[in-house]
Symmetry: C2
Subunit: 224 residues, 2 copies
């Protein structure tokens, strides 16, 4: 069938399928980075070298998935020449994929600290619970962000902001612990833990960024 | 004049002007963030609170400039419905503006450490030279990145990669200094300096990312 003879409704439907496919791929990416931060957390808390190597290798897969998704989005824009609102949604999808890819990088950085310190543990025993809480918060915020992308639920997008407050609180507790006069592990572990804390904090910031972008797409307003 | 009567050459020329305008705005952003990291470095090395506040305030201007540029780029895509190669260039411009905005955030973070520690200096005397070198490297790499955007010179884009090696070397020297048994300033300054080092490193990484994007646009190949 020649393009110009194709019924308008059918063209819209193909385009809608493509947009749904983009959305699903973004959800897939949230699942990939959620698994990646969960494994990175376990690797760094248990000094598990094999698991750290797995996270580091998986980051390439996440990067490739993102590159393919971005190429697909640009191809959709080029072929469909979407109206302004659809174009904004597609450009926003590019930004969300960049945030999600960056979350994968943060998991990678966490895993690299596990590898660097192996066979020692990068996290002292008394801080394991705190980092487990950061890892859990990271997973929770990512899974919720996936739901926000899939459902465009704006209430849930605002919940992600509050979940990030929990991460920030843990991060402040960490820094307080490190600068406490009773800190007995010296400077080198403090440097590792400062960087680890920063990676978890940034990881969650990117999830918030994704949720905010969905919120803005749906409401036309900023969530903060 | 009705759109379809407009001579093709004229449409191309208006579009070309718009692309040139986008390129110029990206160069403007490199100048803004170059000035911002220079001032942030001075603020943190001299414990200059007024200068730190200035950098923090200027970050909003950089963010606004980027938001306006992005809106303009999306508007160009919507109106001009560019061919695939021009579309890729415009999408790349969106990614470059995001990198440059993030460089402004890094200057902001540096300035916030200066403000947090004021009236004390965040950087001990014996590390001033090292951080001045990091600040200089950051400025140099940004100015060169501006030239890369303006001239699309691929040789210069590769130079930016090498300039980043210099930043990485300084960063490694910094970490070695902090973990040296002779380090006498304790944990809290080490945490500040770890984060400062990370901000300069990330700042330069984003400049490299911008240069790589230009290299890829021009050559169709990855620079690394």
């Amino acid at each position: 069938m020649l393009e110009y003879l194709r019924p308008m409704a059918l063209i819209r439907s193909v385009f809608q399928d493509e947009l749904d496919g983009v959305s699903q791929s973004l959800v897939d990416l949230t699942e990939m980075v959620s698994l990646s931060i969960a494994k990175a957390t376990e690797a760094v808390l248990t000094a598990d070298l094999a698991l750290a190597e797995e996270v580091i290798a998986t980051d390439d897969q996440i990067d490739n998935y993102q590159h393919e998704l971005d190429a697909r989005i640009i191809d959709i824009i080029a072929r469909q020449q979407p109206v302004a609102s659809d174009l904004r949604a597609l450009v926003t999808a590019l930004r969300m994929s960049a945030d999600l890819e960056r979350m994968g990088d943060m998991s990678h950085h966490v895993a690299k600290i596990a590898r660097l310190r192996h066979p020692d543990a990068a996290v002292p025993t008394e801080l394991i619970q705190m980092f487990q809480a950061m890892g859990n918060a990271a997973e929770k915020i990512t899974n919720k962000t996936g739901l926000v992308i899939a459902t465009r639920n704006t209430e849930m997008a605002l919940e992600v902001e509050r979940d990030d407050d929990e991460m920030d609180k843990l991060h402040r507790q960490l820094i307080s612990t490190l600068v406490d006069p009773n800190w007995k592990h010296g400077v080198e572990p403090a440097i590792d833990l400062t960087l680890l804390g920063r990676y978890y904090e940034r990881y969650a910031d990117h999830a918030v960024s994704v949720s905010r972008r969905v919120y803005f797409l749906v409401t036309g307003k900023y969530a903060y």
